[in-house]
């Protein structure tokens, strides 16, 4: 276990993925000494430290959606233990490889959901102590294609807060269920003046601290008595954002409608443009892209958002009525995801925030409105003009990036976690079912073996 963790860390160090931090929680960083970078091998197969032979699994013959927008026809996904080893054609299978036949099927990364609840997650941290790996709703989530989701809170008024974890649907095993805690921190708009000033001050203190920390080894060499700089108190989360260890999600308030008011078609208001611009101010204060959580008006200012390197979380189906006094610049837009993606803004799609929607795999009977069909929410981004394959990214890679774990999950690339789905057809088609779900290299759901959908032929 330890070697594999070390390997993961070293891989992350080597990887050229744009996310510098993996958002490991405080806890994790304290208990883990930095591994020597030199030890990192290039390819997992040649790692000499491993004594146990690897367990290989291959998903063979399917049309493989990598998750980055690419698709390979009739390809193989080779899994070594809990990681993707290779993806492509003519992949040689090591002896003893367990083969999962995917001929005539589609293969895709497991879906990554930016807002979820239930599915074995506890209600607050430390999540490792509260997850339930035998929660039956995990199976329901897997049947929906979900292999990871963010549980917990991501909003916080006045100061950067939140308490959350990326949970993996690793049914039956606590180990491997919590990918990382607090890789996301949250802030809610509006930010009053005092809070904004305080945040600015904290950022400044943290910058000074980081600069002092960088100078410290040199100072120490000159003067052995030099004191290690002290971390500013109460600024851990600000520091994590500055260091790229946590993604900052900023909730814009979605134009201030309650789900009920929205459902009933209440008009007026209809814009959160001011909140979006305030959020982008915060991004500039940090000098880093943030993630706008549920903005209604983002489609009006895609370039402003792109310029800060920020991303967006939205539901293409959440409707906010226009203000009759300013109809062209208010209200939601079905084409939001397409408009933002075109400007280069990564978009993660979530389920609609309707009166009867929900962030869990519901059991109350209203299919298409909750997490039972995340692929349908991504399909609505296509309805609004987003390319079909790019739309898959909104519930895979771009969702993982928004959660600060884009280097671990969200696509079928070597070195990433082996979270893979075998599907009956196009991942975004409404009648596509998951036939097999693999999490951390382990088969955790088979349609034919579970009561949920066994009776539905496909």
């Amino acid at each position: 276990m330890r070697t594999s963790t070390l390997f993961v860390l070293s891989l992350a160090l080597l990887s050229a993925i744009d996310l510098p931090g993996q958002g490991r929680g405080r806890r994790g960083r304290r208990s883990q000494p930095q591994p020597p970078a030199a030890k990192a091998p290039a390819a997992p197969a040649q790692e000499p430290a491993k004594k146990e032979p690897k367990h290989y699994t291959a998903i063979v013959g399917g049309d493989v959606y990598i998750g980055t927008g690419q698709r390979l026809t009739g390809a193989t996904v080779l899994i070594a233990d809990d990681k993707i080893e290779r993806v492509g054609h003519n992949v040689e299978l090591p002896q003893g490889t367990k083969v999962l036949d995917a001929k005539g099927r589609c293969v895709s990364p497991g879906f990554v959901i930016v807002k979820g609840s239930g599915m074995g997650a506890g209600f607050s941290g430390p999540y490792k102590d509260t997850v339930n790996p035998f929660d039956p709703s995990i199976k329901q989530g897997l049947a929906a294609g979900i292999t990871s989701f963010l549980a917990g809170s991501t909003t916080s008024r006045g100061r950067i807060g939140g308490n959350n974890a990326v949970i993996k649907l690793h049914y039956g095993d606590v180990e491997g269920m919590v990918l990382v805690e607090n890789s996301v921190v949250g802030l809610s708009m509006p930010l009053d003046r005092a809070s904004k000033e305080k945040l600015e001050k904290q950022i400044e203190q943290c910058r000074e601290y980081l600069a002092a920390l960088a100078d410290y080894p040199a100072k120490k060499a000159k003067d052995p008595k030099a004191k290690e700089p002290k971390q500013p108190r109460g600024a851990e989360k600000v520091l994590a954002v500055l260091q790229g260890k946590a993604k900052l999600w900023i909730s814009t308030g979605g134009a201030g409608f309650s789900p009920f008011a929205r459902m009933m078609g209440v008009s007026g208001g209809g814009s959160d443009l001011a909140a979006i611009r305030d959020a982008l101010d915060v991004a500039r204060m940090f000098g880093r892209g943030v993630v706008l959580d549920g903005p209604t008006s983002a489609w009006l200012v895609p370039d402003e958002i792109a310029a800060t390197g920020s991303g967006v979380i939205l539901s293409p189906r959440t409707r906010v009525p226009r203000d009759p006094k300013d109809p062209d610049r208010t209200g939601s837009n079905l084409a939001s995801a397409a408009i933002l993606a075109k400007a280069g803004v990564p978009v993660a799609v979530t389920c609609p925030a309707g009166m009867f929607g929900g962030s869990g795999v519901g059991t109350n009977g209203i299919l298409g409105q909750d997490l039972n069909t995340p692929h349908v929410d991504a399909a609505y981004a296509v309805r609004g003009g987003l390319d079909n394959r790019k739309a898959l990214r909104t519930i895979t890679l771009d969702a993982a990036v928004a959660m600060g774990v884009g280097d671990r999950i969200g696509s079928l690339e070597p070195g990433k976690d082996a979270d893979v789905l075998i599907l009956t057809g196009d991942p975004l088609h409404y009648s596509t079912f998951v036939t097999t779900a693999v999490v951390n290299g382990k088969v955790v759901y088979e349609k034919g073996k579970e009561a949920l959908f066994r009776h539905i032929e496909r």
Binding site: P136, M263, M264, G265, V266, S267, R317, R319, P321, R322, G331, S332, N333, L334, A335, G354, M355, F356, T363, N364, G365, I366, L367, G368, Q369, T373, V376, A379, Y380, V382, R383, N388, L428, H429, Y430, S431, F433, E450, A451, L452, F453, R454, H455, I456, E457
Partner: protein, 409 residues
């Protein structure tokens, strides 16, 4: 007059509703499309649909269908045509809200006609989802909440352009909402049944007295404005749409409206374990209008698709609703798609939002399929009209283009 039978009978409804023939096209228009799904028969490849004065005057394969010489042509290329969708359980024709008058438990004299607001954003949104006809009904806050209006989703203009029938159906709610907890009768199904039966008996007797009088078999009854609308139900001029759910209530609904009263009826919702009543309902050929709930989690962890269960038990008179705004009005197609996902055959799902609801509400001579003589209400799509990825690019009502993709954000 667009609403001959019902409004004639209403002394209070001497509203002259102008026809909309004036706006209809004077020249026939031939719409060419790669594929046409007529909904009541097999798909047509390489088809043409000719619309004239709001009606379909010809439809079929291009090489065998006569197109009038004077017709102008609209070539939809590789796109598909299918009938405009029909939603019989829709609450947002007034722009949302305002659908429950809950002072009295029985409100046969109310009607949503008084609420319709052609300028409402939600009407345009409904059309954007390809839904061209809706039954705008009152809520389920009382046992008998009034009469719903049958509307064409042609918003932004006059009320006259929208109304198909002022009184499209009577709305009854049997449980799971109308229960009265304020201390009066009707807290349980016993109370609700007693109240309903008392009122419906009065309506039945009143209608019978008028029929007898008109046939010369009795004295002229005293006019009772409170029962005038109810009378239409017992004259079988207007169906009853019953909000009901659960196996017990579904059977009670059939017992009351098919056996005791034998009126035209539609069982709406049928949620929770209502599908357990599917076999007896199939035997009685009960018209079923399913939604917004699409599945029930079974005791042993199966996700039962309700439409599939009703279908497998032999219920062929099966339509699907949104109960908008519970499911957004423009997502009727998604409801059908989700029914397909859970096992309803594709053809049945397409019919369940077109020809079947049209028949259930008594409008299948006018809408619900692409057939000569019917209204030219149709959508143009890039492919499968049930696929959420495929928006209606154009929506026509009575031959008139009323929505293009992008009109509604």
């Amino acid at each position: 007059m667009r609403t001959p039978s019902t409004s004639n009978l209403l002394p209070l409804t001497a509203l002259a509703i102008a026809g909309v023939a004036a706006r209809a096209q004077s020249q026939p228009v031939a719409h060419l499309a790669a594929r046409i799904l007529p909904a009541d028969r097999a798909p047509i490849t390489g088809g043409v649909l000719v619309a004239h004065r709001g009606k379909i005057v010809a439809i079929g394969p291009r090489d065998t269908t006569h197109v009038p010489q004077e017709a102008t042509t609209v070539d939809h290329g590789s796109h598909w045509l299918c009938p405009g969708f029909v939603d019989l359980h829709h609450h947002v024709g007034g722009g949302g809200g305002d659908i429950n008058d809950m002072t009295q438990p029985l409100n046969a004299e109310l009607r949503t006609f008084d609420l319709v607001k052609p300028s409402a954003d939600l009407i345009r949104r409904t059309a954007a989802g390809g839904v061209t006809t809706t039954l705008f009904i009152p809520g389920s806050g009382t046992f008998l909440s009034g009469f719903g209006t049958l509307l064409k989703m042609r918003g932004g203009g006059s009320l006259a352009a929208m109304i198909i029938k002022e009184l499209g159906a009577m709305k009854v709610a049997q449980g799971f909402n109308p229960e009265r907890y304020s201390g009066d009768l009707g807290q349980t199904r016993m109370g609700s049944s007693a109240l309903l039966i008392e009122q419906l008996d009065r309506g039945r007797d009143y209608a019978r007295a008028w029929r007898d009088y008109e046939a010369g078999n009795g004295p002229r009854p005293k006019l009772d404005p409170a029962l005038e609308q109810l009378r239409l139900v017992f004259d079988k001029k207007v169906p009853v749409l019953i909000h009901t759910a659960g196996v017990r209530d579904c059977l009670a609904t059939s017992r009351m409206f098919q056996q005791r009263y034998d009126v035209r009826m539609i069982l709406s919702h049928g949620s929770f374990d209502g599908w357990l009543a599917a076999e007896p309902l199939a035997r009685r050929r009960t018209p079923i209008n399913l939604g917004p709930r699409m599945y029930q989690m079974g005791r042993y962890g199966q996700m039962h698709g309700m439409c599939k269960e009703f279908w497998d038990a032999g219920c062929r008179d099966l339509s699907i609703n949104t109960d908008a705004p519970v499911i957004a009005a423009e997502e009727l197609q998604l409801q059908a798609a989700m029914a397909v996902r859970l096992g309803l055959p594709y053809d049945a799902a397409l019919k369940a939002i077109t020809i079947v609801p049209a028949r259930q509400i008594g409008l299948d001579d006018r809408i619900g399929s692409l057939t000569v003589g019917k209204d030219a209400d149709f959508l143009v799509t890039r492919g499968d009209p049930l696929d959420p990825r495929v928006p209606p690019l154009k929506v026509y009502i009575e031959g008139e283009l009323i929505h293009s993709h992008g009109d509604v954000r």
